[in-house]
């Protein structure tokens, strides 16, 4: 039957109804519960969080011991039950993805996630301080990306990305930015979030605008150009409209940004995002 439509996110609007779970996970460290939770996870969570909870490129890597929205098991129970407003994380049972879980099944999933957690390496692979210098300096990252309120607006805000993405996916996004476009606006009832697609339009008076799509439907498009100006356009009034899945972000090869430098930038993003 129809189900699991991607991050339907319809349930995100369930503000207010915050169910306070018991503080303790009754199934904590129970290996049988962890196994049951693995199957539940596959069915209900892996669509975004990936097999093994390692992040699917869409949802955060949950094997990280430090999580942005959840610290205790009770936090996690609350987030799974009610979703995270303003994100693609839906409330249990409301998004059409999976049939919804019982309390017991939620605790099984939490037990499973805890069993998969790995401690962060004792010494980070990169130098966060140097990464910060690169990010705001020679790396030119901040021309388009903001971190903690500083930087450009054309690309996604990267403040939280270090806490929600794996090191591997961060590196991949820099080395192969077009392989998987970042998600932008998530609308409450819409199945798919807007992606950071590149767009080139020519207006009726012959003006060319290049930028990224903030949002789009069949009749209108909202664009931010490379100068961070917002253009609100009706498609039928344009001379041409061309979208591209070639990311506006340049591909950073190793000769532009060495592996070591990239590790430093990742270390910087993790130091901010995993706070």
């Amino acid at each position: 039957m129809f189900r699991r439509w991607l991050v339907g996110a319809v349930g995100l609007v369930f503000l207010g109804v915050v169910m306070h779970a018991t503080a303790q996970n009754p199934l904590a460290s129970d290996p049988k519960a962890a196994k049951a939770g693995e199957y539940e996870f596959r069915i209900n969570c892996a669509l975004c969080h990936g097999l093994g909870a390692r992040g699917g490129g869409r949802g955060p890597d949950l094997t990280r011991a430090v999580k942005k929205h959840t610290h205790s098991d009770a936090d996690m129970f609350q987030v799974i039950s009610n979703g995270i407003p303003g994100t693609a994380m839906p409330a249990n049972g409301t998004n059409g993805q999976g049939v919804g879980m019982t309390d017991e099944e939620i605790w099984q999933i939490i037990t499973y996630i805890r069993s998969q957690e790995v401690k962060a390496p004792a010494t980070p692979l990169g130098n966060a301080a140097h990464g910060r210098e690169l990010f705001y300096g020679d790396g030119n990252c901040a021309l388009c990306h903001m971190v903690e309120g500083k930087g450009g607006r054309l690309g996604p805000d990267l403040t939280g990305v270090g806490g929600s993405r794996t090191r591997e996916s961060l590196i991949d996004s820099v080395r192969n930015p077009s392989r998987r476009l970042a998600w932008g606006l998530t609308e409450a009832t819409k199945e798919f979030p807007q992606e950071y697609e590149s767009v080139t339009v020519v207006t009726a008076d012959g003006k060319e605008i290049k930028g990224v799509t903030l949002n789009e439907d069949s009749f209108s498009v909202q664009i931010m150009d490379t100068g961070e100006h917002i253009h609100l356009l009706e498609k039928d009034k344009l001379r041409s409209f061309q979208k591209s899945r070639q990311s506006a972000m340049p591909k950073y090869d190793a000769d532009v940004l060495s592996d070591k430098e990239l590790e430093d930038i990742v270390a910087f993003l993790v130091s901010v995002g995993a706070k």
């Binding site: 039957m1 129809f2 189900r3 699991r4 439509w5 991607l6 339907g8 319809v10 349930g11 609007v13 369930f14 199957y39 596959r42 069915i43 892996a46 669509l47 097999l51 699917g56 049972g93 409301t94 998004n95 059409g96 999976g98 049939v99 919804g100 019982t102 099944e105 077009s178 392989r179 998987r180 476009l181 609308e187 409450a188 009832t189 819409k190 199945e191 798919f192 992606e195 789009e216 439907d217 069949s218 009749f219 899945r245």
Partner: protein
Amino acid sequence: MKALVFGSGMRIRGGSPAAPKQPWKSVASAPRRDAVPRQGFSPREPQGLKAPNFPIRNAALEGPLFHGTAEFRGMTKVLIIVLAIWSMTSLFAGWATAQVTFDRLVNSGKEPQNWMTYSGDYSGKRFSALDQINTTNAHSMVAKWVYQTAATGKLETTPLVVDGILYATAQDDRAFALDARTGRPIWMYQRQIPSDIRPCCGHVNRGLAILGDKVFLGTLDAHVIALDAKTGAVIWDATAADYRTGHSFTVAPLAVKNWIVIGISGGEYGVRGFIDAYDADTGERKWRFYTVPGPGEPGHDTWAGDSWKVGGAPAWNTGTYDPATNQIFWPTGNPAPSNRGDGRAGDNLYSNSLLALNADTGKLNWYFQFTKHDEHDWDATQVPVMIDAGGKKLIAQADRNGYFYVIDRTTGKLISATPYGKTTWSDAKDADGRPIANQQASPTLEGHTVCPGALGTTNFMAPTYDPLTGLFYVTARDQCDIFSKAPQPYEAGHAFYGSAYFPSEESEPYLGFLKAIDPATGGVKVKFQHTSPTWSGALSTAGGLVFSGDAEGNFIAFDAASLKPLWHFQMGGAVYAAPMAFAVDGKEYVAIAAGSAVYAFGLP
């Protein structure tokens, strides 16, 4: 197609040439003898008891019969009571038949101002013969009213309209009646549903059935209830199954004769699917057809071991009805577990099938199985549309598995099966012309990619067939998924998928379309590409228009021939419902649900 001219310049095309002129222009302002004060009467009491001013009943009590001896007077007392009851019940029945009779449903083409079944008529065409709104003026359409349901989640309802009143549903088993001209509510109902229901795909509902003076709702806790069409009061409440084992209703029931036909949901819980018929007057169950045959029944041997007991094959979308042969055509959903075939070796009848049932008995006349031994969650729960073409009585069904099927509806024999979207699961057909799955299609432990994905090329979204263009319009998507197996034992009331699936790693986005298929060839004649895949159904009208919605919240009027958009309106929420059309006071409206609201549009 013959054109008939009705009042207010509205031409009715595609309807019966013999259709008499209908007084529907003035229906909304007709004398309301039914305007019984709502407060102070119980819906369980016959309304005639409290309305003693109807001459027909008083007349029955008069005359020489009622004079005589004490004994005779005693007898007359009994007679009076008997006659009074008789007259009241006949009067009551008279009221009921004055509303929506089976005859009216069979001849719905004669009253195109009304929309009395889920698909608009028994054939499932979702075609309106109204043409006041047409290709020449659609560009000027405006919103007439908006009704906010305040429900959250997906609004999948198709409203009904009868004589100026619009009946619809919303999430969490809400039902309501509105003044169809203004959107103002007349009554509202919301069921108290248990907190532990877990319907698979949201607390959704796709609409009501109407018969007599009642509307009928299938509930999320697997009850069928009858509501008074004038007040929303519960007339009867029948329990179909135990919701705690995963049974629920999300489907709009279908009224046939005096039966309310309805199919169960729960394919994700390993229910044993069924289609039921309930007496519209009493709620008594008349028949049940189990979509998974029990021991000794034909087809039982298509299930290994005890797998039939949890075999799924739910029936969660509204079927169609052929009055000529008294057959109900009802489609069924996936076998359970949905994505793992281990343990249920065999074809798994009658999952993913179209069933032809005798409307009076629920006995199976024939079946056609679209996907045998399904492992991809490809429910065949799409509206089976009855089409008469080339002297043949056909059914056209755009299936979730990506093929468009044309079936002879007298025999159930396949005529053609043609892909109408991206498919990779079949590269051969059997002797009957039915696509058969290739070896690589089965899910594996590691997972591998199959097209279409689990959501299918189409899903529950209602298609439409336009007899004027001869085209079948359906919402379609191109999306592939990675299917993997995950061992999962059956546990009553718990999800039973046996697997998981993920969107494939393709960098290309998934594509969504409105496609127009020529049933004669199975080929896609024209298509419109949406910005992203949509869950909206489609409506065609005699105005040369097709209406549909998109995931971005637009409601769009298309030229039926070219699928070029002629008009659009931003409703502010994604569409998961199908449009319908009606008319009141000589004015045509088109209505659709989007976001949390129901919208009605018309000419300025």
